[in-house]
């Protein structure tokens, strides 16, 4: 046949229209261009102008077309007609659904508002949902941070006014060395990949510290396959090496941290370990010029580090001396920790040396003068081009708070925070703990709560305890068990409500949280708690459950009333500076979602955006703020709220196009605001001036800019907490000082774990069991192409990650004679599962792992009941308990970080046995009846035929 070429149309029309909105295929909130043909979604790609993803888009984002058309979408409000957990529902009208909810909620508000527990999962509207819960008056509100990464977030805020991801980011354009600790393949998804690409393109070095060498760790130049739960040991050893060699930024430490602040060392004083302060409460440092104690922020002060100060017979020493004394100890030498970390001592030395070399020998300088809060002028901006990023891998352990603190201490000692080449905050951060609210938890019938539920406690006086000392909140947040639980403890709600400890509730109201499956520790037990009945009355122990979700998830089957949500392309949302922001280090940014397609569920009552439903419920319940002066609803829907709501005069959910459209940050509501956002690509970006881009906590230019924008009401410079005084206040209480005293059984643990300087201790679960019986650490990671449960309903993504073998390291694989296609029994102190296994060599020798949330319950997500996710997929959750194994003391000890209450998912230990391949993975649960039927057999999707 000769060479023939057909004539091609090389310029076909791509779409009728592009609508720009915000992705929600995971939590990263990238900008997307949604191409429409005849009103239908034809193609989705990244928005080039968006600050988060700058045009690129991950696999999940590009697969959004299979989400907005997923057969698992709910179609109408549902009322349970069979037993809980059967999946038997009838469709009802919205009026009936809303009236039912009001009939349940209104009497509770008037009698005992705490009996409504409202917890939201992967909620991006916490600014609204928490405000609603405040107006309702229940103390029982939180989102999912307690089972996600509160250790990372809280340790960051308490130590330096922000953590990673939404709080700040590596200076991708300047850093020369990046350390990634415990980062799974996700948050934040595209920005990390874009950043790694930049580092790779200019040959900067990336070191991955993770038991598993996949994803980002696979492309890292060097991999340190650390033993899970020992990151804190490694970090403190690096600090040991750096201190010993004097490779620390003394100028930075004296100016910008509490290293010079004087600490009371009187062994008999109730103030032992607290800071020496002046009459105004200002922390004092020893001025090197005058030799006198001086306020840390006094103009011209030259804080010293090397000398103590005696007053009234009491010795005071600078924080830095306590710190040096502790970490110079040979207990922290690489040789002392190497075996526990699973890392050769020589490599720890080499890593410390590399940090020292890059931070100090490759320092960078930007010719940009700036002024600090003491009035000192700096001619240039000095940068130490070492950056770090960490997420749940180090966070989800019972020692995670102190480990995250240690990581921030390491960055600060090197002088790499908020400097060129280091770690940079993103507005509205930095924001120190003092600038956050304290928790409010005092319910009064018929009344709103006095303030926000969640906050940062600064001492025992801020705990959420009732007058009799019992917890005010159902999740026991802000109690002696976990005093700094800044995100609440969603993973304890069902367990505590079932136990009636600290009290019984009536209605559990959940949004977007798959608590009957992958979001609970001990999934099977949670299903039992949700269906358990009182033997005398036959009533459910948790009497009423209302749930809102967009899809037919496992949790739907365990609720009594379903309020169906829209998909992300059918709704309004705001990605607000009042909430979880999407700013960049050099700009504040916010964004919207808007219905780029209308919710369309033909033949059914239809779906409504949950936030609009919540606003409607608020009005029907007569909640303050939700009712207009004429008694009607204050807001027509969520879009109206986004436009008109003012949290403070002039400050609303969105910063852009306020007032007449020209005001930014502060300004009256603008009825055209959403239209302006849509015309602007769904986003608003407000740049930080050059002189304000670094040293933000101390830089007057940044502080003034932030006040003008409305982030602060006045400049709020502060210094970093190497030594965290509030922790010491809890220790003092545990030592017997003060009015508010912990229960005796918690005293020792508070003394040991709430150390004001970062410490490492072995994870609790490992310490509570015979580790020889359970010799392996078991972890999950979230794959880059799948987000929680949501991906499994996606016809394209489930072809990429439809199965999740348990990956076993080489030694284990060979010792047991495993071969491809084999199965294993995996046993923890709490249960056993039977699962398919696979070999992985690039893995810590004592660790097994699998992908998170691939396994599905039969009958859910509109999948066939023989879907591979339901027959071979599995969850590690069955092996995990929200409580530690019994210690024989008759007490319930939670499997959480003792400071923040973060769920210690990654403390799990197991043993592995080879078994004959069964028919399917175990445990197997009976199929749920699907309220939406099943998806079509085949797909050949083309909207523009």
């Amino acid at each position: 046949m000769g060479h023939l070429e057909p004539k091609l149309d090389l310029s076909p029309k791509v779409s009728d229209e592009i609508r720009k909105t915000t992705c929600y295929m995971c939590a990263c909130r990238c900008g997307i261009d949604v191409h429409l043909k005849a009103g239908q979604v034809a193609y989705i790609e990244g928005n080039r102008d968006h600050p988060v993803n700058k045009g690129v888009l991950c696999a999940k984002g590009s697969a959004g077309i299979m989400q907005v058309n997923a057969p698992s979408r709910l179609r109408a409000p549902l009322r349970r007609v069979g037993p809980r957990g059967s999946g038997q529902f009838e469709e009802i009208s919205w009026d009936e659904a809303l009236q039912t909810a009001v009939d349940w909620m209104a009497p509770l508000r008037d009698s005992a508002p705490e009996k409504l527990a409202f917890f939201t999962g992967r909620d991006q509207s916490q600014s609204l949902t928490s405000w609603w819960a405040q107006a309702y008056g229940t103390p029982n509100y939180a989102a999912h941070g307690g089972f996600c990464s509160v250790n990372m977030a809280a340790a960051g805020i308490y130590t330096m006014g922000g953590a990673f991801w939404e709080f700040g980011q590596p200076d991708w354009d300047r850093t020369k060395l990046l350390l990634l600790f415990g980062v799974a393949e996700d948050h934040d998804s595209n920005p990390i990949k874009i950043g790694l690409g930049k580092l790779k393109a200019r040959g900067a070095r990336v070191i991955g510290i993770n038991p598993i060498r996949s994803g980002y760790n696979a492309v890292a130049d060097d991999w340190i396959g650390i033993t899970p739960g020992t990151d804190g040991l490694l970090i403190l050893s690096l600090i040991h090496c750096l201190l010993k060699a004097g490779k620390i930024d003394l100028d930075y430490l004296t100016r910008f941290t509490n290293a010079p602040v004087l600490v009371n060392e009187d062994p008999d004083s109730p103030e032992r370990g607290l800071f020496l302060r002046d009459a105004k409460g200002k922390m004092l440092v020893l001025d090197r010029k005058t030799g006198l104690p001086t306020a840390f922020d006094a103009p011209g002060v030259k804080p010293g580090l090397a000398h103590g100060y005696r007053r009234a017979g009491i010795t005071h020493r600078p924080v830095f001396q306590l710190l040096a004394e502790r970490y110079l100890s040979e207990d922290h030498a690489p040789e002392a920790v190497a075996e526990r970390c699973g890392i050769p001592a020589a490599r720890i030395h080499a890593l410390a040396a590399e940090l020292a070399r890059v931070a100090f020998d490759e320092a960078i300088e930007i010719a940009q003068p700036w002024n600090d809060f003491r009035g000192d002028r700096h001619g240039t901006m000095i940068g130490r081009p070492v950056a770090m990023h960490a997420m749940r891998g180090i966070s989800a352990h019972s020692n995670g708070f102190q480990t995250a603190r240690a990581l921030h201490l390491l960055q600060i000692l090197l002088g790499t925070v908020e400097v060129p080449g280091g770690f940079r905050f993103k507005p509205p951060y930095p924001k120190p703990p003092e600038a956050h609210p304290r928790p409010n938890a005092w319910a009064n019938p018929g009344q709103p709560l006095a303030g926000p539920h969640l906050g940062f406690v600064m001492g025992p006086e801020d705990l959420a305890l009732r007058p009799d000392g019992t917890p005010a909140r159902i999740d026991k947040a802000f109690t002696w068990e976990n005093p700094m639980s800044a995100h609440g403890l969603m993973h304890m709600v069902i367990s505590n409500a079932h136990a009636g400890d600290p009290y019984k509730i009536d209605t559990l109201f959940l949004y977007m949280a798959n608590m009957a499956w992958n979001s609970s520790m001990g999934t099977g037990r949670v299903m039992e708690m949700l269906t358990d009945t009182d033997p005398e009355t036959g009533a459910y122990v948790i009497p009423r459950i209302i749930y809102s979700d967009a899809y037919s998830s496992e949790m739907v089957a365990y609720a009594d009333l379903i309020l169906p949500d829209t998909t992300y392309l059918e709704r309004h949302d705001c990605i607000s500076l009042l909430d979880r922001p999407i700013s960049e280090a050099d700009a504040a940014a916010d964004a919207i979602r808007w219905p780029v397609v209308e919710p369309d569920r033909p033949g059914h009552a239809g779906v409504r955006g949950f936030q609009s439903v919540l606003i409607d419920l608020g009005a029907r319940l007569g909640l303050p703020g939700f009712v207009a002066e004429d008694g009607g609803p204050a807001y027509a829907d969520y879009a109206d709220y986004i436009t008109r709501h003012e949290r403070k005069p002039g400050i609303g959910p969105l910063m852009g196009f306020r007032g007449d459209g020209s005001a930014t940050g502060r300004g009256a509501p603008n009825p055209d605001q959403l239209e302006r956002y849509i015309a602007n690509g769904g986003i608003f970006v407000h740049h930080i001036p050059e002189a304000a881009q670094f040293y933000k906590p101390w830089n007057t230019a940044y502080q003034d800019w932030a006040v003008k924008l409305g982030i602060y009401d006045s400049p709020q410079p502060y210094i970093f907490n190497l030594y965290l005084e509030p922790l010491r206040k809890f220790q003092l209480a545990a030592e017997g000082h003060g009015d508010r005293q912990p229960p005796d059984h918690l005293r020792a643990r508070i003394r040991e774990t709430m150390d004001p300087l970062p410490i490492w201790y072995p994870p609790f679960e490992g310490a509570a069991i015979e580790v020889d019986t359970y010799p392996f650490h078991a972890l999950t990671q979230r794959p880059m192409a799948m987000y929680h449960s949501w991906g499994s309903q996606n016809a394209w993504l489930r072809q990429i990650h439809g199965q999740n073998p348990l990956y076993l390291p080489t030694g284990l694989w060979e010792r047991h004679g495993f071969a491809e296609g084999d199965w294993a029994r995996v046993t923890s102190p709490h249960g056993e599962i039977v699962v398919p296994v696979a070999h992985m060599a690039a893995l810590n020798a004592n660790t097994v792992w699998t992908w998170n949330a691939i396994g599905k319950r039969k009958g859910t997500w509109a999948l066939d009941k023989d879907a591979q996710e339901a027959t071979k997929g599995f969850l590690l959750n069955h092996l995990i308990h929200e409580l530690l194994p019994p210690k024989g003391d008759g007490l319930r000890w939670s499997n959480s970080d003792p400071i923040t209450g973060q769920a210690a998912w990654f403390d799990l230990r197991v043993r592995i046995e080879k078994i004959t391949a069964p028919a399917e993975a175990k445990p197997a649960f009976p199929p749920l009846k699907s309220p939406v039927g099943h998806g079509p057999k085949d797909l050949a999707w083309k909207v523009g035929r």
Binding site: E45, D222, E354, L797
Partner: protein, 248 residues
């Protein structure tokens, strides 16, 4: 059988950086989305919500473990699609002329109107880069987004393959590998880009940039000066501190 053009004016193709690819599958799904809606028959999916879903993809990412003689095992992510070979055996084997290589730019395409779905081309391709669509019964393959790269309805910046536009890590590059001065040719030269399976004699246009050496920890003694202790006692440390602060 079908003839290849004697010469192509350009050699458009991809350069894929295996040192940077994190294996995220963004390219896989962007490709699936674009090519489902655009060129030819949609890329269909069978048993889409069932036991063993399988669909047509023009680009897939495979992951391989490499265990060196010494040192830790490594994981390499390897995206694979049609390599638009100069001596494309999938074209010469085609009985109908449906498979062809464009003389203008070297892109290998299937003219679906002439494809009889015999599957010979997929057998002939040593890379496994072609997939028969089970619903349409025609052979599907990477088009290098021929309906994007010249598309005058798209902004100029977007006239590149969907996989390149979406790649978050910047591991995919598109250009004329026949022009030694092009950015992609320069990149291949600088990074030692390689042909996939050159022994097959297909002369692939796409190139792969190999992973850089990993786990090359510098000798501790080279870095040792960076960790020389400043003192040998706690008192000595405080003395160093005092002197160091004086120098600030």
């Amino acid at each position: 059988m079908t003839r290849l053009p004697d010469h192509t004016e350009r050699k458009l193709g991809l350069v894929i950086d295996l040192d940077t690819c994190v294996g995220c599958h963004a390219c896989v799904v962007a490709c699936k989305g674009w090519n489902t809606e655009n060129y030819g028959a949609p890329l269909s999916d069978q048993d889409a919500y069932g036991a063993e879903p399988s669909g047509t993809f023009l680009n897939r990412v495979h992951s391989y473990e490499v265990t060196p003689e010494t040192g830790a095992a490594q994981l390499v992510h390897f995206p694979k699609s049609c390599l638009h070979c100069e001596d494309a055996p999938c074209v010469t084997v085609c009985p109908t002329g449906a498979s062809y290589k464009r003389s203008e730019d070297g892109i290998v395409l299937v003219n679906e109107a002439d494809c009889i779905g015999c599957g010979l081309c997929a057998w002939a391709c040593p890379y496994g880069a072609r997939e028969m669509d089970a619903a349409a019964g025609v052979m599907k393959k990477c088009t290098l987004c021929v309906d994007r790269i010249y598309n005058e309805t798209l902004p100029e910046i977007d006239r590149e393959p969907a996989c390149v536009r979406t790649c978050p890590a910047g591991a995919r590059h598109f250009g004329d590998l026949g022009d030694p001065e092009s950015d992609v040719s320069q990149l291949v030269a600088a990074r030692g880009g390689i042909d996939l399976m050159p022994e097959q004699g297909t002369k692939p246009v796409n190139k792969y940039l190999p992973p850089r050496p990993k786990d090359t920890w510098e000798q501790t003694d080279i870095l040792a000066p960076f960790l020389t202790p400043v003192a040998d006692s706690p008192q000595g440390f405080l003395g160093w501190l005092d002197r160091a602060l004086d120098r600030l």
